[in-house]
Amino acid sequence: MANRPASRSFTGVDAIIRVGIVALVLGTASIHSTLGGLLFTLNAAGYVVAAIAMIAPIALASRFRWVIRAGLIGYALTTIVGWAIQGPYYTTAYLAKATEVALIALVAIDFVRFDGNPMSVVRRELAAGLAFLRARRAGAAA
């Protein structure tokens, strides 16, 4: 996977993928919101927050969209693992898990299209953080 620049033009395919992600997130959120109980309600609320974060036209959200993508993948994976351990295994649960697997795949595609190799992203962010610290230190010394 090649490292891609963080800011590139937003294409029609990107729009379709982003809409698909939001639809899948809201789909699994809606399923969880109907199950009742604090755990499921909080899970649904987390998904709704993630959906908003994925499309929020805010500079900070755009700058760190890769964190949101990684967080969403981790959140969906945690939900799947939690269900695999505890169950129950029934039709609605299988539907929710299928939605989450599709969601992970789509977010991973979105990640690669926008951010490239995850390791390159981490290296790039570390370098940016170090440069920021150096600049502050230089400013303080001046």
């Binding site: 729009a15 939001v22 639809a23 109980g37 959906a51 499309i55 129950p88 029934y90």
Partner: protein, 127 residues
């Protein structure tokens, strides 16, 4: 293009929220059940009882009235670790009444719970 994506995503959000706000199904009439059937209901994520009593060596029915939209079931297990299934059927959304047919059981204590909300639980004393 980003604005278009945001607009489409908001439309998707509105569609899902609209789908979620649909009214729940009308109550289903209770199916014909044995007059001696055990009865249990649930509301506000709580079963109406945490103890049921049945006769050993005789099949029996449990009439379960789920009075809320949250899906529940009455899953019966032979052990407190809920690993030995006796009767486990899918959770269903209410308001709806379902009759479970339980096979004849040996005397002893059995355990029931909602598999989705595991705090909802109780015992079946078979004597």
């Amino acid at each position: 293009m980003k604005r278009l994506a945001s607009t489409l995503a908001l439309v998707a959000l509105a569609a899902v929220l609209a789908a979620c706000s649909g009214t729940s199904a009308a109550p289903t009439p209770a199916p014909s059940a044995d007059p001696d059937a055990l009865r249990i209901s649930s509301k506000d994520l709580t079963f109406s009882t945490d103890r049921l009593v049945a006769l050993a060596g005789k099949a029996f029915q449990i009439v379960y009235d789920n009075q809320e939209s949250a899906p529940h079931n009455v899953a019966i297990y032979a052990d407190q670790g809920y690993s030995q299934k006796v009767l486990v059927e899918e959770p269903f959304s209410g308001p709806k009444v379902v009759t479970y047919s339980v096979p004849a059981l040996d005397a002893g204590t059995y355990f029931f719970r909602c598999d989705l909300h595991t705090d909802m639980k109780g015992t079946i004393e078979v004597t």
